[in-house]
């Protein structure tokens, strides 16, 4: 059985290694536009800051693929998928498949503002991006977008002594993960370390050529020699556009069923390019996080082998490391609740901050700053649809406590 996997990110790698682990004879070909071996995109911030060596970014060795009998075509591009004849046209020739796994990932959205981009505009998505930023030696940087990647980039460049301006369109940083108060506290941490944060501000143009000299915004210009664009990703499903019957969602993600199979038989999709159901919102959406990509890759690999495994679902958990202080969000923040009413149980103290978001007592999410790792228990409690009132009552009943003791660790946060 021939499986071809497009992409060497964690989704593609997980699919390949899962197939090989379960079947010693399956023919696996992995094609990727990047040079190998596989690396962790989540560690790019630490490489950019100089906290780790380039070699530490890789999560597999160059010998890994050969040892696992995975045929690799690195720095190669797939031009077209012929799903009817089960063939791929690539710049290394034609590839035939029995099962195809699309793990093409996502592409950073970069505004052009109606002109060709000057030099000095980067995204922070690939290892190549990080290498290029390092070579450029930013002294004054504007980071466009305050999601986790933007925060990582800002912190990394600041650690290297650059002047850093973080620009965010919405009224708070990390808007999809944190509510206003925790976002404000995290902003304070960035500012205390010398990063200028501009919220509610829109970048309107890149200035200068041939190299960028600044950005103009709706509230004045900011001088810089570097711009890191971290303003969102869209799924890389360009190949799917010309395949008959291969359905995409409105967000252009590949539609997959519970087994990661697309609307075309024997074609699977996993990782950033696939739209999946998120367990906290119940919606089919883009869930572009490492752990989702990894698990989806594993399930796609299992089902390419016909094992009929069901994907548990994507979930949103994310964190940022701001000069050694950590902020984590799990579940849905208040700002993500569709209904207008949500309530919070929150506390600010010398150690940090936490909030638990609930609707009518039903726990929906949690956010914390500082040493509150115990609140991770809410990840499980939310999925079990636990109610704040029930959790408090449970603690007075010996049998129910013994049945779910771990919930007791966090009851004190609810009082």
């Amino acid at each position: 059985m021939k499986t071809v996997i497009i992409g060497n990110g964690i989704a593609g790698l997980s699919a390949a290694s899962t197939i090989r682990r379960l079947n010693g004879n399956a023919e696996i070909t992995l094609i990727s536009r990047e040079p190998g071996p596989a690396y962790s995109a989540c560690n790019l911030g630490n490489y950019l800051s100089g906290d780790i060596d380039r070699s530490a970014v890789f999560i597999s060795s160059s010998g890994y693929y050969e040892k696992q009998h995975i045929r690799t075509l690195f720095e190669s591009v797939v031009r077209e998928i012929d799903a009817e004849r089960k063939k791929l046209l690539s710049d290394r020739g034609e590839l035939v498949y029995d099962k195809l796994i699309i793990a093409t990932g996502s592409i950073p959205w970069v505004p052009s503002f109606g002109r060709t981009l000057p030099r000095g505009i980067f995204s922070l998505k690939t290892l190549g991006d990080a290498d290029r930023i390092k070579s450029h030696r930013p002294r004054k940087a504007v980071v466009l977008g305050s999601g986790p990647v933007g925060i990582e980039a800002a912190v990394a460049l600041k650690k290297n002594g650059a002047e850093v301006h973080l620009v965010e369109l919405l009224d708070r940083i990390l808007p999809r993960l944190f509510d206003a108060r925790p976002a404000q506290l995290i902003q304070g941490m960035l500012e205390a370390n010398g990063i200028a944060v501009h919220t509610g501000r829109r970048v309107t143009a890149f200035l200068g050529e041939p190299t960028v000299q600044g950005v103009s915004t709706d509230q004045g210009q900011i001088e810089c020699d570097t711009v890191i664009v971290a303003a969102g990703m869209y799924p890389d499903t360009r190949l799917a556009m010309n395949v008959d019957g291969l359905s995409l969602t409105p967000e252009k993600g590949l539609k997959v069923d519970g087994r990661m199979e697309t609307s075309v038989k024997d074609v699977f999709a996993c990782g950033d390019c696939a739209a999946t159901r998120e367990v906290f919102t119940g919606k089919v959406q883009m869930n572009m996080l490492w752990h989702n990509a990894k698990q989806q890759g594993i399930v796609a690999g299992q089902n390419a082998l016909g094992l009929n495994r069901e994907y548990r679902g994507a979930f949103t958990i994310a964190g940022v490391d701001v000069f050694g202080r950590h902020a984590v969000s799990l579940g849905v923040p208040g700002g993500g609740i569709a209904e207008d009413a949500y309530e919070t149980i929150e506390k600010e103290s010398g150690s940090g901050y936490y909030r638990i978001v609930h609707t009518d007592g039903l726990v929906r999410g949690a956010q914390y700053i500082g040493p509150y790792e115990e609140l991770g228990i809410f990840f499980t409690l939310i999925q079990k649809r636990r109610n704040v009132g029930d959790l408090l009552k449970m603690s007075s009943n010996r049998r129910s406590t013994a049945a779910n003791p771990w919930a007791q660790r966090v009851v004190r946060y609810l009082r």
């Binding site: 560690n43 530490a56 752990h291 958990i317 490391d321 950590h326 990840f379």
Partner: protein, 160 residues
């Protein structure tokens, strides 16, 4: 032969020796903050629960680690954190259903029970029989599960 630490909470008196033994064995300190085992004292109920890693067969911590710093040894079943690769992102601490993985604030990295490489210090330190390092009898577990399935089916039929 796969062995696991089984707990008998009713025997626990809350002395905390297990916690100190763990910190001592791993760090040479007597620091509950550096222990991979915790005892939760539920005062109102005269019950103490031991919180330690269950060495899951399908560990969520391994799933979420963005730098592949956590791995499971197929032969022993032990799930281990490689603190050299760990970046301290806290994602593992979010997904563990037991809250059994935590952060060692001396180094800012995750820490969890590693069964002390096969000779758990907490088990040796417990004088009350709360912690026992025993072979995991997978066959017996399978049999029990089958029995429970059969009973559930019988009850379901009764309910009809």
């Amino acid at each position: 032969m796969r062995k696991v630490i089984m707990t008998d909470p009713e025997r626990c008196v809350g002395c905390g020796n297990c916690v100190l033994a763990c910190s001592l064995a791993h760090n040479g300190t007597l620091s509950p903050a550096q222990s991979r085992i915790a005892v939760l004292n539920l005062h109102g109920m005269s019950l103490k629960i031991q919180i330690l890693c269950a060495q899951c067969t399908e560990p969520l911590c391994v799933d979420v680690c963005p730098v592949e710093a956590i791995s499971r040894d197929e032969s022993t079943g032990t799930v281990t954190v490689d603190s050299r690769s760990c970046i301290g992102c806290r994602m593992c601490t979010v997904v563990c259903p037991l809250g059994a993985i935590s952060i060692d604030y001396e180094i800012g990295k995750s820490m969890k029970c590693d069964l002390c490489g096969g000779d758990p210090a907490c088990v040796k330190a417990c004088g009350y029989g709360t912690l026992n390092y025993v072979p995991l009898d997978e066959d017996a577990a399978k049999k029990r599960r089958k029995a429970v399935e059969n009973i559930s089916k019988a009850f379901a039929k009764l309910a009809e």
